[in-house]
């Protein structure tokens, strides 16, 4: 038995930075994938013992329980103010906020823009699934035009409900931002790319370059009224058109090269 274990090649294991607690997310929701990527990176950077995670109000309100790191849950929209307070008081800590679209791009817009513009040395993972998930599928700031939600039953109309807001495009205008990229995880080949993006947002903080943010286009099968496969397809066909993937700010890669870090 011992011999067997020694010879075994580990193909998959739980990251140390995730708890064994079962996720409460719906089938087909992308939170689970993104949680895992963040946890793997905390492990790989050996940051678990100095990480503090700020969970938002929304579906990922329990995120602080799923991660095996110190954590809190901020008031709705205020994660980046909380993170600012933590990092300013204890610059040696590694601070991550994990926020949804309602939290980051509606009620918390002021905190988001000002923390980014100040170049707070914190890392934000921004889940954009175009609805308010926790409260039952209401219209989000990122809801697509024409998309029906429980508070836009006629479909989002620009003249009544306005347009979806583009956070990465706003980030591009803020000098405090060191890394901003929009990714998705709807196909297996997207996942390693998303991980590299989050890694660079970690480096924005670790190399003291500025604010790092990664927007992950995500599904919400439950509130979209689709099965997980359909939802993934819908994301690829519709959300990517409205929210183009790609790197919006990168002051990190060059410094990584200079310092010889990967």
């Amino acid at each position: 038995m011992e011999k067997l274990q020694q010879d075994a090649i580990v193909l998959a294991k739980m990251p140390k930075s995730l708890n064994k607690k079962e996720f409460t997310y719906c089938p087909g929701c992308h939170h689970g994938i993104v949680h895992r990527l963040v946890a793997e990176l905390i492990d790989e950077f050996n940051l678990r013992e100095r990480t503090v995670l700020v969970a938002p109000v929304g579906c990922s309100v329990f995120a602080y329980e799923f991660f095996n790191v110190d954590g809190t849950v901020a008031a709705h929209g205020r994660a980046l103010a909380v993170a600012t307070g933590m990092k300013r008081a204890r610059p040696d800590l590694f601070i991550i906020t994990y926020q949804g679209d309602g939290d980051l791009a509606a009620i918390g817009t002021a905190e988001t823009i000002h923390a980014a513009n100040r170049g707070e040395r914190v890392t934000t993972v921004f889940i954009n699934n175009a609805v308010y998930g926790m409260t039952g599928g209401q219209m989000a700031p990122t809801t697509l035009l024409g998309m029906k939600t429980t508070t836009s039953p006629y479909g989002r109309r620009p003249e009544k409900e306005g347009y979806p807001i583009h956070i990465m495009e706003i980030m591009r205008e803020l000098p405090g931002v060191a890394y901003a990229e929009r990714v998705k995880v709807s196909k297996p080949q997207d996942v390693p790319k998303a991980k590299i993006a989050i890694k660079k947002a970690f480096y924005a903080q670790l190399l003291d370059l500025g604010f790092g943010i990664v927007e992950v286009l995500s599904t919400c099968p439950t509130n979209w009224g689709m099965d997980p496969v359909e939802a993934g397809k819908w994301l690829d066909e519709n959300m990517v058109k409205e929210f183009p993937l790609g790197v919006y700010v990168d002051k990190v890669t060059e410094v990584m090269k200079e310092k010889g870090v990967k």
Binding site: D70, T72, A75
Partner: protein, 352 residues
């Protein structure tokens, strides 16, 4: 204690916080307390602390939440409308049991109101302006020396009970100049480490600081813990001053700068042969009900004076419980009552 120096109220409170070992300040400019924010922007740099001007009071209180949760002694100062904006965050901090000191330099309201001294935010500060079952220790100084001492005390109470604490000041307190004797500064390194703070899960299990539990039975337990704490605060943290109360026939009750003005009214009354005295609550929560109740047994009239429409008056009535008449005299919206008009108000009541 060092030598006496002439300082402005806002600066006295700021310097007291520094001497209490506070090294993190977040704030947003608002009259009549902006000088305190300005003072901290200079002073924090000198002592190697953190000063950050936030984008709003909403951001300010949440930055405090963050700094406090990682173990820092943290403070802000604001004025009424700004304090209103902080209420949500204060409620979160109360349930997450996060220590912090808030200085509210109260001005005339409601709404935009004006920028003159007022006590019209008593309900909001003392009874809880945010949601849920929480209380905050509140101290109301009547001189700059007392403001210095109470500010330092506020940090100790905040840490001891893991709670936000409020210094209830007003525009008069903020703008006046007085000689003050500062105590020797505390070395922030000597403040005991907080064994609940989020410092990274090194050599221990990961820990959480939240105001949240989806299970009502667990949340009720958290609530009961808070209530237990408030009970202890009520038992141990009452503060008040009695002025010429040994032989009273009538008793004034007033807090903060109004307490100071009423002392002059007491002297006027005494010159006219009326044995008046003053009971000045210093802690507004916990309100010193018991002592005021005892004193009210000696008199027929307990007259409350406030720069409000009669908010503390409700606590006075709860203490007096009908044992004496409880008339009220107040000025609103930033108008400061004079000793003479307070004396006249008393005479009118006594002639009834």
């Amino acid at each position: 204690m060092g030598e006496k120096v002439m300082v402005k109220g806002t600066e006295a409170i700021g310097e007291a916080a520094i001497r209490a070992g506070c090294r993190v300040y977040f704030g947003y400019p608002i009259t009549p307390q902006s000088e305190l924010t300005e003072y901290m922007s200079r002073r924090m740099e000198e002592v190697g602390g953190v000063f950050l001007q936030a984008e709003s009071e909403v951001a300010t209180v949440n930055m405090m939440y963050g700094a406090s949760s990682v173990g820092a002694r943290v403070m802000t100062s604001t004025s009424s409308p700004g304090f209103s904006l902080m209420q949500e965050g204060i409620s979160y901090m109360a349930n997450a049991q996060l220590p912090a000191v808030f200085v509210d330099v109260v001005r005339g309201g409601p709404g935009l109101g004006d920028i003159q001294p007022s006590q019209g935010d008593y309900f909001q500060i003392v009874k809880g302006g945010g949601h849920g079952d929480y209380r905050l220790p509140v101290y109301s100084p009547s001189s700059l020396q007392e403001a210095v001492e109470l500010t330092i005390h506020a940090f100790d109470v905040a840490d001891k009970y893991r709670t936000p604490v409020v210094i209830f000041a007003d525009g008069m307190m903020g703008q006046m100049m007085e000689p003050v004797e500062f105590p020797e500064p505390i070395d922030p390194g000597t403040i005991p480490e907080k064994d609940w703070a989020l410092t990274g899960a090194k050599g221990r299990e990961a820990r959480y600081v939240t105001s949240f539990d989806i299970d009502p039975y667990k949340l009720e337990k958290m609530n009961l813990e808070l209530q237990e704490k408030y009970k202890k605060i009520i038992e141990e943290e009452q503060k008040w001053e009695e002025f010429m109360t040994e032989d009273i026939e009538v008793l004034f009750v007033a807090h903060g700068t109004v307490g100071r003005i009423v002392k002059s009214a007491v002297k006027i009354a005494r010159e006219k042969g009326i044995k008046a005295g003053l009971f000045r609550p210093i802690s507004l929560f916990p309100f010193p009900y018991k002592r005021l109740s005892e004193l009210s047994e000696k008199v027929d009239v307990v007259m409350t004076v406030e720069m409000s429409s009669g908010q503390m008056l409700e606590d006075v009535k709860l203490a007096v419980l009908g044992k004496a008449r409880t008339p009220f005299y107040g000025r609103l919206a930033g108008v400061i009552p004079t000793p003479n008009e307070i004396f006249e108000a008393l005479m009118k009541e006594l002639r009834r």
